[in-house]
């Protein structure tokens, strides 16, 4: 229990950093817009350069907003999973939820050439892709939950999640093998991850998903703290294990599934952010950690996206590659510095 003042200061600093990163993210890109013009536009002012206004409101701001939501949601689901599975290496990917989303997307994009008789498969756009990925992730989530109700041990559940991931990955491989080059390319582009291309209506849907996930997590904050002791201890403290596990798994599922559906698989944010947050706040209390990972995840995602935009050039790098290139060394650094990963 650090002092409340330290926490407040940390939160204020994080929030300022978030604002700054948002500004930088919006102002940089293939066309560089000065930071003060960006903030003028953000806070309701009109710009003399109308093309800048257009770029900001139709491209940059939705993208920054997506990055914030994606980063927050992934970081939050990572924190939930690390506590639930008592494993510092847990993240949205391990339960197979992201793989489930990939399977849904792969079936939609590449299944068409296998099941050409089915007309629904020939209709591929952003919305149907998001729906397919959501269905995929939820099917895997359902399967994991059925297993979770029978298997009491969370370590076993973690391994089962990994196995589900392997199975879905294998099916995607088979699909890739039989599909034509064009479809394969389309799938690979999806798997690169992207925070651009989301309309405002899609964004509001994503916002809803993050909102539900956050509420479920906040309700579970007390149980999450008890779970730090282990399940038997948590039960002895009056925690209803079945109910809290259900809430936490649902929250993780809709966060990771929904985000992967809209933004593609994005690695390492979910794994690395909770660890970085624990470094800053030096606490295990989820009442502090939950809001902190939301802000920290957003900051990191904005930074990764800024780098991916390659400011000043017309090219864009795949966001998934950037998060991995930045995220993996962070995890290695944590391991080397602390010898042992704690959560």
């Amino acid at each position: 229990m650090g002092s409340a003042n330290t926490y407040r200061l940390n939160f204020i600093l994080l929030f300022v950093a978030l604002l700054l990163c948002t500004g930088i993210n919006i102002s940089l890109g293939s066309v560089s817009i000065p930071l003060e013009e960006t903030f003028t536009s953000l806070f309701g002012g009109t710009l003399e350069n109308t093309s800048w206004d257009y770029i900001l409101w139709n491209y940059r701001i939705p993208k920054a907003f997506t990055a914030i939501l994606v980063g927050s949601g992934l970081a939050l689901s990572g924190l939930l999973m690390q506590t639930l599975f008592r494993n510092p290496l847990a993240g949205p990917f391990v339960l197979g939820i992201s793989s489930g989303a990939s399977l849904g997307a792969a079936l939609l994009i590449m299944g068409a050439s296998l099941f050409s008789g089915l007309s629904i498969f020939s209709f591929v756009n952003d919305v149907s892709l998001a729906i397919a990925a959501s269905i995929g992730s939820f099917l895997v989530l359902m399967a994991v939950m059925v297993v979770a109700s029978r298997v009491k041990d969370t370590m076993t559940l973690l391994i089962i999640g990994l196995m589900f991931g392997s199975i879905t990955a294998a099916i995607v491989s088979v699909l890739s093998y039989f599909t034509d080059a064009e479809k394969l390319q389309q799938y690979i582009y999806w798997s690169f991850g992207s925070v651009g291309n989301l309309s405002w209506s899609q964004l509001s849907l994503l916002l809803g998903i993050i909102f539900i996930g956050t509420i479920l997590s906040l309700v579970s904050a007390k149980s999450l703290n008890a779970l730090l002791l282990g399940e038997n201890y948590a039960q002895s403290l009056g925690v209803n294990l079945k109910k809290s596990r259900f809430y936490i798994i649902i929250a993780t599922g809709i966060l990771a599934g929904g985000i992967t559906a809209f933004a593609g698989p994005i690695a390492f944010i979910g794994l690395a952010v909770p660890h970085l947050t624990r470094q800053i706040f030096n606490t295990t209390d989820h009442r502090i950690l939950l809001p902190a990972v939301l802000i920290y995840g957003a900051i990191l995602m904005l930074l990764c996206d800024t780098v991916a935009q390659l400011p000043g050039s017309a090219n864009v790098l795949p966001i998934n590659a950037i998060t991995s290139i930045l995220g993996a060394p962070v995890v290695i650094w944590l391991l080397v510095r602390k010898r042992k990963m704690v959560f």
Binding site: M1, L229, K340
Partner: protein
């Protein structure tokens, strides 16, 4: 706390694997009881059953005259606290945070600590002499210190009964005695019923109010001196290897 015709063990789909059966005892407020017996006699299984960490095979446990089965998890958390042998999942929390978790059954939905909670946490830390360590992380503590922190957490939970599974294992003689003396003062000063399992039979004889001896043939329950009179300890181990000296209350190795 009372046990009637209790049978403990493990249930699999096909079979009931009973470890110890027909256990009876009755404990009053402020009593310190040790559960002793040879390896595999069912000490831990019994303790976990008493704490409702695992279900009993048959028989009943009563707490304040009410069947343990009728307690909701929340109501039980205010009556029984446990210290198990399994390590805590995250050792990244400070001693103070760990002890504070003991207040969970009483706090609101976000877990805000009020003044009463804070004073109970402080008292628990003081009783276990953890003041100097309270801002240390659990992974920085020695086995004995961590065990004291776990007992402080159970004490902060402020329950009528505290159950401890082998609290003195892995500790040296001094720390064993230290833990046992703390348990005795908790039982006698705060009027809590303290039950622990142990292999330290000689120490338990000296410090406990009552003992429960788990023996495959017959379980004996009573004050240590009565158990000595009944020659209960002699039956515990094969006489050609270890013998019990009733005068000193200690075991001797037969050469």
């Amino acid at each position: 706390m009372e046990a009637c015709q209790l049978t403990v063990g493990y249930r699999t789909k096909k079979a009931r694997n009973s470890v110890a059966s027909n256990i009876n005892f009755a404990l009053g407020q402020g009593e310190l009881m040790a559960i002793v017996g040879v390896n595999g006699a069912g000490k831990s299984t019994l303790l976990r059953t008493l704490g409702k960490v695992q279900p009993q095979l048959s028989g009943e446990v009563f707490l304040n005259g009410k069947n343990l089965a009728n307690y909701s998890p929340m109501a039980l958390a205010a009556e029984i606290s446990v210290v198990l042998t399994e390590p805590i999942a995250s050792k990244n929390m400070t001693v103070e945070e760990l002890v504070a978790l003991g207040r969970q059954p009483y706090t609101n939905w976000v877990g805000t600590l009020n003044d009463d909670d804070k004073s109970k946490i402080k008292t628990a830390i003081w009783m276990l002499e953890l003041e100097a360590l309270q801002h240390k992380k659990c992974y920085e503590l020695s086995d004995g210190q961590l065990q004291r922190a776990m007992i402080a957490r159970a004490l902060a939970q402020d329950t009528a009964v505290i159950l401890l599974d082998e609290p003195t294992t892995h500790l040296d003689l001094y720390h064993k005695v230290q833990i046992l003396k703390v348990l005795k003062s908790i039982a006698h000063e705060t009027k809590k019923t303290v039950v622990f399992t142990s292999h330290e039979i000689e120490m338990a004889i000296q410090i406990c109010d009552t003992m429960l001896l788990l023996d495959p043939t017959a379980h004996t329950f009573g004050p240590p001196c009565k158990l000595i009179e009944q020659r209960a300890f002699e039956r515990l181990f094969p006489a050609d290897t270890v013998s019990f000296d009733a005068k000193t209350g200690s075991f001797k190795i037969e050469k």
